[in-house]
Symmetry: C2
Subunit: 118 residues, 2 copies
Protein backbone atom coordinates (compact mmCIF):
# COMPACT_ATOMS: atom_id res chain seq x y z
CA UNK A 1 0.00 0.00 0.00
CA UNK A 2 2.14 2.65 -1.21
CA UNK A 3 1.27 6.18 -0.30
CA UNK A 4 3.36 9.18 -0.95
CA UNK A 5 1.80 11.04 1.93
CA UNK A 6 0.30 10.02 5.15
CA UNK A 7 -3.36 10.25 4.66
CA UNK A 8 -4.55 8.31 7.51
CA UNK A 9 -4.48 9.59 11.04
CA UNK A 10 -7.09 8.41 13.51
CA UNK A 11 -5.32 7.36 16.62
CA UNK A 12 -6.23 6.24 20.12
CA UNK A 13 -8.96 4.65 22.14
CA UNK A 14 -9.55 1.29 20.69
CA UNK A 15 -10.48 0.27 24.17
CA UNK A 16 -14.03 -0.57 23.11
CA UNK A 17 -12.61 -3.46 21.12
CA UNK A 18 -12.21 -5.32 24.39
CA UNK A 19 -14.79 -6.96 26.60
CA UNK A 20 -16.67 -4.73 29.03
CA UNK A 21 -15.18 -6.78 31.86
CA UNK A 22 -11.63 -6.04 30.83
CA UNK A 23 -12.49 -2.41 30.21
CA UNK A 24 -13.98 -2.15 33.66
CA UNK A 25 -11.01 -3.75 35.37
CA UNK A 26 -8.59 -1.61 33.40
CA UNK A 27 -10.47 1.50 34.45
CA UNK A 28 -10.24 0.54 38.09
CA UNK A 29 -6.57 -0.31 37.91
CA UNK A 30 -6.02 3.01 36.21
CA UNK A 31 -7.59 4.77 39.16
CA UNK A 32 -4.91 3.13 41.30
CA UNK A 33 -2.13 3.95 38.88
CA UNK A 34 -0.85 7.09 40.59
CA UNK A 35 0.90 7.29 43.97
CA UNK A 36 -1.09 10.40 44.90
CA UNK A 37 -4.34 8.51 44.52
CA UNK A 38 -3.03 5.59 46.55
CA UNK A 39 -1.90 8.05 49.20
CA UNK A 40 -5.34 9.63 49.26
CA UNK A 41 -7.00 6.26 49.72
CA UNK A 42 -4.61 5.39 52.52
CA UNK A 43 -5.19 8.70 54.21
CA UNK A 44 -8.95 8.32 54.05
CA UNK A 45 -8.63 4.85 55.55
CA UNK A 46 -6.36 6.15 58.29
CA UNK A 47 -8.68 8.96 59.25
CA UNK A 48 -11.32 6.35 59.89
CA UNK A 49 -14.33 8.50 59.32
CA UNK A 50 -15.34 11.14 56.89
CA UNK A 51 -13.36 14.28 57.10
CA UNK A 52 -13.56 17.63 55.50
CA UNK A 53 -11.44 18.25 52.51
CA UNK A 54 -8.13 19.06 54.05
CA UNK A 55 -6.68 16.19 52.16
CA UNK A 56 -4.65 18.56 50.05
CA UNK A 57 -2.45 19.40 53.01
CA UNK A 58 -1.54 15.77 53.45
CA UNK A 59 -0.48 15.32 49.87
CA UNK A 60 2.63 17.02 48.51
CA UNK A 61 0.83 18.55 45.57
CA UNK A 62 -1.14 21.68 44.94
CA UNK A 63 -4.74 21.90 46.07
CA UNK A 64 -6.25 21.86 42.62
CA UNK A 65 -4.11 18.94 41.61
CA UNK A 66 -5.29 16.96 44.59
CA UNK A 67 -8.80 17.95 43.68
CA UNK A 68 -8.24 16.49 40.24
CA UNK A 69 -7.13 13.21 41.74
CA UNK A 70 -10.13 13.23 44.06
CA UNK A 71 -12.33 13.69 41.04
CA UNK A 72 -10.79 10.68 39.35
CA UNK A 73 -11.25 8.53 42.41
CA UNK A 74 -14.83 9.72 42.59
CA UNK A 75 -15.41 8.89 38.94
CA UNK A 76 -14.08 5.41 39.62
CA UNK A 77 -16.59 5.36 42.48
CA UNK A 78 -13.87 4.43 44.97
CA UNK A 79 -14.65 7.45 47.12
CA UNK A 80 -17.69 9.56 47.79
CA UNK A 81 -17.85 13.27 48.41
CA UNK A 82 -20.73 14.93 50.18
CA UNK A 83 -21.05 18.64 50.44
CA UNK A 84 -21.50 20.00 53.93
CA UNK A 85 -21.81 23.72 53.92
CA UNK A 86 -18.74 25.27 52.41
CA UNK A 87 -16.75 22.12 52.90
CA UNK A 88 -16.87 18.72 51.31
CA UNK A 89 -16.59 15.47 53.19
CA UNK A 90 -14.76 12.72 51.43
CA UNK A 91 -14.85 9.12 52.45
CA UNK A 92 -14.06 5.74 51.02
CA UNK A 93 -16.67 3.72 49.25
CA UNK A 94 -15.89 0.61 51.26
CA UNK A 95 -18.16 -1.55 49.16
CA UNK A 96 -16.53 -0.54 45.91
CA UNK A 97 -13.08 -1.08 47.35
CA UNK A 98 -14.04 -4.50 48.61
CA UNK A 99 -15.48 -5.33 45.20
CA UNK A 100 -12.30 -4.16 43.56
CA UNK A 101 -10.23 -6.25 45.92
CA UNK A 102 -12.26 -9.29 45.10
CA UNK A 103 -12.21 -8.64 41.37
CA UNK A 104 -8.52 -7.92 41.29
CA UNK A 105 -7.83 -11.01 43.32
CA UNK A 106 -9.95 -13.15 41.03
CA UNK A 107 -8.24 -11.81 37.96
CA UNK A 108 -4.74 -12.20 39.26
CA UNK A 109 -5.20 -15.63 40.76
CA UNK A 110 -6.94 -16.75 37.60
CA UNK A 111 -3.86 -15.70 35.72
CA UNK A 112 -1.03 -17.78 37.05
CA UNK A 113 -2.65 -21.16 37.55
CA UNK A 114 -0.76 -22.54 34.60
CA UNK A 115 2.60 -22.53 36.29
CA UNK A 116 4.20 -21.72 32.99
CA UNK A 117 7.93 -21.81 32.61
CA UNK A 118 10.14 -20.35 29.96
Amino acid sequence: MRHDFKINTMTTTKTDLFSPELQHKARLFKALAHPARLAILQYLAEIKCCITGNIAEEIPLGRTTVNQHLKELKEADLIRGTVEGAKTNYCLNAQAIEDLRRESDAFLSGIDVGKNFC
Copy 2:
Protein backbone atom coordinates in the same frame (compact mmCIF):
# COMPACT_ATOMS: atom_id res chain seq x y z
CA MET B 1 15.27 30.65 42.69
CA ARG B 2 15.29 34.25 41.95
CA HIS B 3 12.89 34.88 39.16
CA ASP B 4 10.39 37.62 38.92
CA PHE B 5 8.41 35.98 36.16
CA LYS B 6 7.45 32.54 35.32
CA ILE B 7 10.21 31.33 33.21
CA ASN B 8 9.93 28.07 34.56
CA THR B 9 7.21 25.76 33.58
CA MET B 10 8.30 22.39 34.77
CA THR B 11 5.23 20.34 35.02
CA THR B 12 4.69 16.69 35.71
CA THR B 13 6.19 13.79 37.56
CA LYS B 14 6.16 14.68 41.16
CA THR B 15 5.86 10.99 41.76
CA ASP B 16 9.15 10.91 43.62
CA LEU B 17 7.48 12.89 46.37
CA PHE B 18 5.75 9.71 47.44
CA SER B 19 7.09 6.68 49.23
CA PRO B 20 8.88 4.06 47.14
CA GLU B 21 6.22 1.57 48.17
CA LEU B 22 3.40 3.67 46.78
CA GLN B 23 5.42 4.39 43.67
CA HIS B 24 6.01 0.72 43.16
CA LYS B 25 2.39 -0.22 43.61
CA ALA B 26 1.26 2.59 41.33
CA ARG B 27 3.66 1.37 38.64
CA LEU B 28 2.26 -2.13 38.83
CA PHE B 29 -1.34 -0.98 38.74
CA LYS B 30 -0.43 1.15 35.76
CA ALA B 31 0.78 -1.94 33.94
CA LEU B 32 -2.71 -3.35 34.42
CA ALA B 33 -4.42 -0.14 33.41
CA HIS B 34 -5.13 -1.04 29.79
CA PRO B 35 -7.53 -3.71 28.53
CA ALA B 36 -5.05 -4.86 25.90
CA ARG B 37 -2.50 -5.67 28.57
CA LEU B 38 -5.07 -7.51 30.65
CA ALA B 39 -6.08 -9.43 27.55
CA ILE B 40 -2.47 -10.34 26.88
CA LEU B 41 -2.03 -11.63 30.42
CA GLN B 42 -5.21 -13.67 30.13
CA TYR B 43 -4.14 -15.10 26.82
CA LEU B 44 -0.75 -16.10 28.15
CA ALA B 45 -2.44 -17.80 31.08
CA GLU B 46 -4.84 -19.61 28.78
CA ILE B 47 -2.12 -20.89 26.49
CA LYS B 48 -0.61 -22.56 29.52
CA CYS B 49 2.94 -22.65 28.31
CA CYS B 50 5.21 -20.32 26.50
CA ILE B 51 4.25 -19.64 22.97
CA THR B 52 5.83 -17.79 20.15
CA GLY B 53 4.76 -14.27 19.57
CA ASN B 54 1.56 -14.73 17.70
CA ILE B 55 -0.11 -12.78 20.44
CA ALA B 56 -0.73 -9.93 18.07
CA GLU B 57 -3.28 -12.01 16.17
CA GLU B 58 -5.27 -12.54 19.32
CA ILE B 59 -5.47 -8.88 20.16
CA PRO B 60 -7.50 -6.48 18.04
CA LEU B 61 -4.63 -4.06 17.57
CA GLY B 62 -1.74 -3.70 15.18
CA ARG B 63 1.34 -5.83 15.67
CA THR B 64 3.61 -3.00 16.69
CA THR B 65 1.06 -1.71 19.13
CA VAL B 66 0.81 -5.11 20.76
CA ASN B 67 4.57 -5.19 20.85
CA GLN B 68 4.52 -1.93 22.75
CA HIS B 69 2.15 -3.36 25.33
CA LEU B 70 4.33 -6.45 25.63
CA LYS B 71 7.27 -4.19 26.28
CA GLU B 72 5.41 -2.44 29.06
CA LEU B 73 4.42 -5.71 30.67
CA LYS B 74 8.01 -6.83 30.39
CA GLU B 75 9.23 -3.62 32.00
CA ALA B 76 6.83 -4.23 34.85
CA ASP B 77 8.38 -7.70 35.00
CA LEU B 78 4.98 -9.36 34.73
CA ILE B 79 6.03 -11.31 31.66
CA ARG B 80 9.28 -12.64 30.29
CA GLY B 81 10.36 -12.88 26.69
CA THR B 82 13.02 -15.28 25.51
CA VAL B 83 14.34 -15.25 22.00
CA GLU B 84 14.24 -18.54 20.16
CA GLY B 85 15.62 -18.22 16.70
CA ALA B 86 13.64 -15.67 14.77
CA LYS B 87 10.77 -15.89 17.20
CA THR B 88 10.29 -14.77 20.74
CA ASN B 89 8.59 -16.80 23.40
CA TYR B 90 6.56 -14.87 25.90
CA CYS B 91 5.33 -16.22 29.15
CA LEU B 92 3.98 -15.01 32.43
CA ASN B 93 6.26 -14.33 35.33
CA ALA B 94 4.12 -16.32 37.73
CA GLN B 95 6.11 -15.24 40.74
CA ALA B 96 5.74 -11.55 39.96
CA ILE B 97 2.04 -11.96 39.35
CA GLU B 98 1.61 -13.80 42.60
CA ASP B 99 3.55 -11.08 44.39
CA LEU B 100 1.39 -8.45 42.78
CA ARG B 101 -1.74 -10.31 43.81
CA ARG B 102 -0.55 -10.45 47.36
CA GLU B 103 0.53 -6.83 47.42
CA SER B 104 -2.63 -5.59 45.81
CA ASP B 105 -4.69 -7.63 48.20
CA ALA B 106 -2.79 -6.31 51.20
CA PHE B 107 -3.20 -2.75 50.06
CA LEU B 108 -6.88 -3.01 49.31
CA SER B 109 -7.84 -4.92 52.41
CA GLY B 110 -5.78 -2.55 54.50
CA ILE B 111 -7.83 0.26 53.06
CA ASP B 112 -11.39 -0.37 54.11
CA VAL B 113 -10.99 -1.65 57.64
CA GLY B 114 -12.47 1.55 58.99
CA LYS B 115 -15.99 0.85 57.81
CA ASN B 116 -16.41 4.53 57.20
CA PHE B 117 -19.79 5.96 56.45
CA CYS B 118 -20.76 9.26 54.98
